[in-house]
C-alpha cells in the first residue's frame, strides 16, 4: 500500500469544529420541547430515605415533575438488565430504585423543569429525611475482611498463578526490600461533565446524546432497562470532551434522562454538576505490599506483590494491578495476589490504564529501592532482569522493544551523567533528582466492524460506532482510509459515535486504533477490489493484465507499480462501474491462534528530572523523556499529544490528584476543580516523547498497538524515584505533597 498519510504528522480533522465550538457535545444538543433535569444527591452514605418531600419543589412555577423512588416509572426488574459491556460482577447501581442509600452522593431525586435554573432551584427545595446506618468508607478499617473476588471480571486477567516459591526465595535472597505503597483515590474529572440529552421523536422513539465511550453500550443498556426495541433507540455521541474511562459505563444521568423522557413523552436533558462528577466511579484505593529478593549480582530471585483494593458493597470491581509485577521481569519465584474489601462508596471505575500505574508505582518504586540497596544503576537492574517472554503466562511477546526504549530514553535524557548518590546533585537551593521507571500496557485488538462508501463524486465516507474521546480517532481513521484508496484526506469523511453505525466495542483499553483502524482498512480494501475490477474492465485498460497486488492507489489514480505512467483515474473507474456508490462493510477480528501463543503489550521507559526545594517541600518536574515502544505510529502528531497527555496525567498522579474522603461523613470532600488539583501549565515543563521503532505483525494487521494509556504508566513511579534521588526520602504514598516532603525522614 502506498502510504501518503499513514506515519505522517497530520492535524486533527475535527480541530476546526472543536476550536470554533461547532462540535456538538451531549449536553449541547437541543430540541424544541426540551425539559431540564437536575439531580438531587444523597447527603448520607448508608441507610434509607424515610421521607422525601417534593411539595415545595413541585409548587415552583415551571417545574414539570419530580421523580423519586416513590413515583419512578417501572423499569426492568432483574438486576442483570442493568449490566453493561464493561460492568464488573455484581448488581449494578439502579438510580431511584428504592429507599436504600448505598453511597453518599447517590441520586435520590430528579427535578424536571422547563428551564435549567428552575430545576436547580426547585432541587434545593426537595427535602429528604434519612435514617442513617453506620457506614465504613475507610479501606484500612475493612482490610481484614478482604476476599478474593469469586467471580472474575470479564476481560480482566486475574493475578497469574504463582510460579516457584517466592517465600523461600525471598528468605534465601542476600538483598531484599519490602514496603507498602498506596495512591490516593482519583476521580477522572474530564472537562466535559457527564450529560445526556434525550430527544423525544414521538411514537416511543428516542434519540439519545450521551457522554459515552461507546454509543452501542448505552443503546443496549437503554433497551434492556426500559424494554425498548433496538430500532427505537438511537444513541448519537459524535464528540466526547474527555472521559478517561468515566464514560465506559452508562452513568446514572443516562438512566434518569431516559426515564424522564419516556415518562413525560418529551425531550429531557440532564447535566451533572462538577461536584456530582465525584459521585460516580474513581480509581480505587489500594493497600499494596511489594517484596523483592535479589542476589548480589542484581538478579531477581523473588517477587511478591499483594494488593487489597476497595470496591463497593454491590459490585466486585477488578483491574489488572499486580499482574505487571509478574510479567515485566525474569524471575523464577513470583507470587501476586489481588483481594477486594467492600466500602460504602460507589463502585470504582476504569481510569486511564486501570491498574497499571497503580501497580507499577509500587513495583517500580521497589525496583528503585532494590537498585539503591544493591548499588547498581536502576536501568542496569532492569536490563539484567529483562524478560524475553511473558513468564506469567508463558507466552511470547508479539514484539517487545523495551530494551531499546531504555537505551534510547537514557541516551536522550543524558542518564549516564547521573551521580547515583542521593542528594548529590544540586543547583542553587534546589536538589536535583533523576529517576526512571518502566511502563507497560496491554496492546489489544477487539472485534470491530466498519463501513466504507465511495460515492460517484469521488468522496469516501468511513463509519464505525466507536467514539473519539479526544484522542484523534477521527484523524487516524481518515488517514488510513485515504491511503487505502489513494485519496487526499479532504475527500474522506469519518463518522463515529452513532449506535446505528457498524458494530464496535467501547472505546477503551487502547484498542481503538488497532481495531477500528483494521476494520476501516478492510472495508476500504473491499471497495478497492470493486474499483480495480471496474478499472481493469475498461476498454484498452492499461491495467488489463494486472492483478490487484501489482497496482497502487495513489493520487486518485490506480497505477501499475512497475510503471506509474500506466494508470486509470478513480473517476474513470467509478464511472465505468456505473453505480451511485461502492460500499463495503467488514469486520476485523483478532487472530485466536496468535492470542494462544502470544501476548502483546506496549512498553515505555520514563526518565524524569525533578528539582526539590527541600526546606519548603516544593517539587518541580522540570524534564521528562518518555521512550515508548508501541508498534507503528499512524500519526506522530496526535500520537505525541496522546503520550504527553498521559505523562501529564502521571504528573497529576505523582504530585497532585487526590480525592479526599471524610470517613465520618462517608463522602469525598474536595469535589471541585479548585480543590481537586490536576496539573496546570506551571506544573508541566519539558516533555519529550520518543517512539522506539517496533515491528509487530501480530497484534493487528496494521502493526499498530495503541497509545491511549501507556503515557501515564510508569510516570508517577519515575517521579517518586527522582524525588528519592534528589532528597534521599522515599515517599510511598501518592500524591507527593509538600507535607510529605518535609515530613518524611531520609532513608537510612
Amino acid at each position: 500500500m502506498h502510504e501518503t498519510h499513514f506515519g505522517s504528522p497530520r492535524s486533527r480533522v475535527d480541530g476546526p469544529l472543536k476550536v470554533t465550538g461547532a462540535a456538538p457535545y451531549a449536553g449541547e444538543f437541543t430540541a424544541p420541547d426540551l425539559a431540564h433535569g437536575y439531580v438531587v444527591s444523597s447527603a448520607i452514605a448508608k441507610g434509607r430515605i424515610t421521607r422525601i418531600d417534593t411539595k415545595d419543589a413541585l409548587a415552583v412555577p415551571g417545574v414539570v415533575q419530580v421523580f423519586t423512588h416513590e413515583n419512578r416509572p417501572r423499569t426492568a426488574f432483574r438486576s442483570n438488565a442493568y449490566q453493561d459491556e464493561v460492568a464488573p460482577p455484581g448488581k449494578p447501581f439502579r438510580a431511584l430504585y428504592d429507599e436504600t442509600i448505598v453511597y453518599s452522593g447517590q441520586p435520590v431525586a430528579l427535578v424536571v423543569a422547563e428551564d435549567f435554573e428552575i430545576a436547580r432551584y426547585a432541587a434545593s427545595l426537595v427535602r429528604v429525611t434519612y435514617e442513617a446506618e453506620a457506614h465504613e468508607t475507610d479501606l484500612e478499617k475493612v482490610q481484614a475482611k478482604a476476599y478474593v473476588p469469586p467471580v472474575k471480571r470479564q476481560g480482566i486477567s486475574p493475578p497469574p498463578k504463582p510460579r516457584g516459591d517466592s517465600e523461600a526465595a525471598f528468605g534465601a535472597s542476600p538483598v531484599t526490600v519490602e514496603a507498602g505503597y498506596r495512591i490516593a483515590v482519583e476521580h477522572h474529572n474530564p472537562m466535559e461533565p457527564h450529560a445526556t440529552t434525550v430527544v423525544w421523536e414521538g411514537d416511543e422513539r428516542i434519540t439519545v446524546h450521551d457522554k459515552i465511550q461507546g454509543a452501542q453500550n448505552s443503546q443496549s443498556y437503554i433497551t434492556a432497562v426500559f424494554g425498548l426495541p433496538q430500532k427505537d433507540v438511537r444513541v448519537v455521541s459524535p464528540f466526547i470532551g474527555g472521559a478517561f474511562g468515566s464514560g465506559l459505563r452508562p452513568q446514572y444521568q443516562l438512566f434518569l434522562a431516559v426515564m424522564a423522557a419516556l415518562e413525560l413523552k418529551r425531550s429531557v436533558r440532564v447535566v451533572l454538576t462538577r461536584d456530582q462528577m465525584f459521585t460516580m466511579g474513581y480509581r480505587p484505593d489500594g493497600l499494596q505490599n511489594v517484596a523483592l529478593g535479589a542476589n548480589q549480582d542484581a538478579t531477581l530471585q523473588s517477587i511478591r506483590h499483594d494488593l487489597i483494593a476497595n470496591t463497593s458493597t454491590f459490585e466486585d470491581y477488578q483491574e489488572a494491578t499486580v499482574n505487571w509485577s509478574a510479567m515485566l521481569y525474569h524471575c523464577d519465584n513470583v507470587t501476586t495476589t489481588h483481594k477486594l474489601a467492600k466500602t460504602d462508596l460507589y463502585t470504582p471505575a476504569d481510569m486511564r490504564a486501570p491498574g497499571a500505574p497503580t501497580g507499577l508505582f509500587a513495583m517500580e518504586s521497589a525496583m528503585d529501592e532494590l537498585a539503591h540497596k544493591l548499588g547498581v544503576d536502576p536501568v542496569t537492574l532492569r536490563l539484567r532482569n529483562y524478560a524475553d517472554i511473558d513468564e506469567s503466562t508463558n507466552k511470547y511477546h508479539t514484539s517487545k522493544e523495551l530494551r531499546a526504549a531504555y537505551q534510547l530514553g537514557a541516551e536522550r535524557f543524558g542518564w549516564s551523567k547521573r551521580n547515583p548518590k542521593p542528594r548529590s546533585m544540586k543547583e542553587g537551593r534546589e536538589l536535583i533528582g533523576w529517576g526512571m521507571a518502566s511502563g507497560a500496557w496491554e496492546a489489544q485488538m477487539a472485534q470491530t466492524s466498519a463501513r466504507a462508501t465511495l460515492t460517484a463524486d469521488g468522496r469516501l465516507e468511513v463509519a464505525c460506532a466507536t467514539a473519539d474521546v479526544g484522542t484523534g480517532t477521527y484523524t487516524i481513521l481518515t488517514q488510513i482510509a485515504a491511503d487505502a484508496l489513494g485519496l487526499p484526506m479532504e475527500k474522506v469523511t469519518t463518522k463515529l459515535g452513532d449506535s446505528s453505525l457498524p458494530k464496535s466495542p467501547v472505546e477503551g483499553g487502547s484498542w481503538t486504533a488497532a481495531s477500528a483502524g483494521s476494520a476501516v482498512e478492510l472495508a476500504c480494501h473491499k471497495v478497492r477490489e470493486t474499483l480495480f475490477k471496474s478499472a481493469r474492465g475498461l476498454d484498452h485498460s492499461p491495467l488489463a493484465n494486472a492483478d490487484i497486488e501489482r497496482v497502487t492507489f495513489h493520487g486518485e489514480r490506480i497505477a501499475l507499480v512497475s510503471d506509474s505512467s500506466r494508470f486509470v483515474t478513480l473517476a474513470d473507474a467509478l464511472k465505468a462501474a456505473g453505480v451511485e456508490k461502492i460500499e463495503a462493510e467488514e469486520t476485523a477480528s483478532p487472530s485466536k491462534l496468535t492470542q494462544m501463543r502470544y501476548n502483546s503489550f506496549t512498553h515505555s521507559a520514563v526518565f524524569v528530572e525533578v528539582r526539590v526545594d527541600e526546606e519548603l517541600g516544593q517539587v518541580r518536574v522540570t524534564r521528562i523523556v518518555d521512550a515508548v515502544a508501541a508498534g507503528r505510529i499512524i500519526n506522530p502528531k496526535t500520537a505525541r499529544s496522546q503520550i504527553m497527555g498521559g505523562v501529564v496525567f502521571g504528573i497529576g498522579m505523582a504530585l497532585h490528584e487526590e480525592s479526599m474522603p471524610d470517613h465520618n461523613l462517608g463522602r469525598f470532600m474536595n469535589h471541585n476543580l479548585a480543590e481537586y488539583h490536576v496539573p496546570v501549565n506551571a506544573d508541566v515543563h519539558d516533555i519529550e516523547v520518543i517512539f522506539v521503532e517496533e515491528h509487530d505483525t501480530l497484534t493487528s494487521p496494521l502493526g499498530v498497538k495503541g497509545l491511549g494509556e501507556i503515557g501515564i504508566v510508569g510516570t508517577a513511579a519515575a517521579i517518586a524515584n527522582a524525588v528519592f534521588h534528589a532528597t534521599g526520602k522515599r515517599i510511598r504514598e501518592l500524591p507527593i505533597t509538600i507535607d510529605k516532603v518535609i515530613g518524611t525522614a531520609e532513608a537510612a
Partner: protein
C-alpha cells in the same frame, strides 16, 4: 440557585439603600458569589449589582502620598498599575500570585476582601457547617482539614480567609473606607476581618448596611525589601496552604521596621506586631528570623490534616524574610523559589 430580586443602583447612596434590604448581597466581579449561589451556599433574596457605580474604578493619589484604590478596580488593573508596581510592588506581586488571569480580570478590590472561605464543608450544602448554618457543627474538626487554620481558630470554626491580596494589604496597613446610612467610616484592615469565635458566620466587621468604597494605602515604605511567598498544592492556580507577605524598612544594615503577614493559616490575614518588633534594629539573618517565626506561630494548633502547616509556616517565614532582606522578591512567574 434561588430566586432573587436584582437592583443596579446608579450611586453609592442608592447602593447603600439597596443593601439595607433583608438578605441582600453585593455583586461586583461575581467570581465567588455566583459560584456560591450555584452551590446553594449563598441564598441572597436581593442582589445589588454595584458594577455601574461611578467613581469606584479609579486609583488616585491621596494627600498623604499614598494611593486610594476604588472598590471596583479589578485585580488586574491594580496589579499592573505603574504606581502600584513602583511604590507597592509587594501588593502587585501578591495579586499576581492569586487565581488566574481570567479571574483577576473580573475580580474587584472590594470583592476580593469579601470573598469567602474555601473550606470544603462550607462549600457543600449537604454537610453541617457553622459558618453556613450557625449551630450545625464543624465537621472539618476531625474531618478533612488540610487547608484549614492553625491560628485564631475556635471550636465553632477552623476556616481560613483565602485572599492573597488581603495579606499584602495587611502588611501594608491598608485602610478600608466603607459607606453606610450614616456616611463613610474607615476600618483599618487589621480590624476588618474577624476571627471566627462564636460567630463564624460573620467574616468581617462590615455592617450589613454598608458597602466598601475604597482601600487606602499609606505612603510607601517597603518598595525595596519585600516578598510574597505562596506555598500551595500545585505551582499555580491553587489557594495558599501557607503564604507570607514580608516587608522590611531597612536602615543601612539593620531593620528599621518589619511587617509580616501570613495567609492560609487563619480566618484573617495573620499579623503579630510584637513578633515584627523583634526585628527592630536587628541585622537580618536566619537566627533572628527564627525567633520571629516562633513568636508569630505561638499558640498554633493543628487538627491532623493541617498540622504540617505549623512547621511549613515557620520555614516559609524564614525564607520570606531572607528573600526580603536580600531584596530578591519571589517571582510569581518563575516557580522556582529563590
Amino acid at each position: 440557585m434561588n430566586r432573587f430580586s436584582y437592583a443596579r443602583p446608579g450611586s453609592v447612596a442608592e447602593a447603600v439603600r439597596e443593601v439595607a434590604a433583608p438578605a441582600s448581597k453585593v455583586l461586583a466581579g461575581g467570581t465567588n458569589l455566583v459560584d456560591l449561589m450555584k452551590y446553594n451556599v449563598e441564598r441572597p433574596a436581593h442582589l445589588v449589582d454595584v458594577t455601574r457605580l461611578p467613581g469606584l474604578k479609579a486609583i488616585e493619589e491621596t494627600g498623604e502620598g499614598g494611593l486610594r484604590i476604588g472598590a471596583l478596580v479589578t485585580n488586574t488593573a491594580l496589579a499592573y498599575d505603574p504606581r502600584v508596581q513602583e511604590r507597592y510592588p509587594l501588593l502587585s506581586s501578591t495579586i499576581l500570585a492569586g487565581a488566574t488571569a481570567q479571574l483577576r480580570n473580573a475580580a474587584t478590590t472590594g470583592g476580593n476582601l469579601l470573598q469567602r472561605t474555601r473550606c470544603y464543608y462550607f462549600y457543600d450544602a449537604a454537610t453541617p457547617c457553622n459558618k453556613r448554618v450557625p449551630g450545625s457543627g464543624c465537621p472539618a474538626i476531625g474531618g478533612v482539614n488540610r487547608i484549614h487554620a492553625i491560628l485564631g481558630t475556635s471550636e465553632q470554626c477552623i476556616a481560613t480567609h483565602p485572599s492573597d491580596m488581603a495579606v499584602a494589604m495587611a502588611a501594608l496597613e491598608a485602610v478600608i473606607r466603607v459607606s453606610g446610612p450614616g456616611g463613610e467610616r474607615d476600618i483599618p484592615i487589621a480590624e476588618f476581618h474577624r476571627l471566627p469565635g462564636d460567630t463564624p458566620e460573620r467574616d468581617t466587621n462590615l455592617g450589613a448596611d454598608e458597602i466598601i468604597v475604597s482601600v487606602e494605602l499609606p505612603a510607601p515604605r517597603f518598595a525595596t525589601n519585600y516578598t510574597y511567598l505562596k506555598l500551595r498544592d500545585r505551582l499555580s492556580y491553587a489557594f495558599a496552604l501557607v503564604s507570607v507577605a514580608a516587608a522590611l524598612d531597612m536602615d543601612g544594615g539593620t531593620v528599621r521596621e518589619a511587617r509580616i503577614a501570613l495567609g492560609g493559616v487563619a480566618h484573617k490575614p495573620w499579623r503579630v506586631p510584637e513578633a515584627e518588633a523583634l526585628l527592630k534594629g536587628v541585622v537580618p539573618e536566619r537566627g533572628a528570623f527564627s525567633l520571629v517565626a516562633d513568636r508569630i506561630l505561638e499558640g498554633a494548633q493543628g487538627f491532623g490534616g493541617n498540622s504540617f502547616k505549623i512547621d511549613l509556616a515557620h520555614r516559609a517565614i524564614l525564607r520570606a524574610l531572607s528573600q526580603a532582606a536580600a531584596g530578591t522578591p519571589q517571582s510569581q512567574t518563575d516557580k522556582r523559589i529563590q
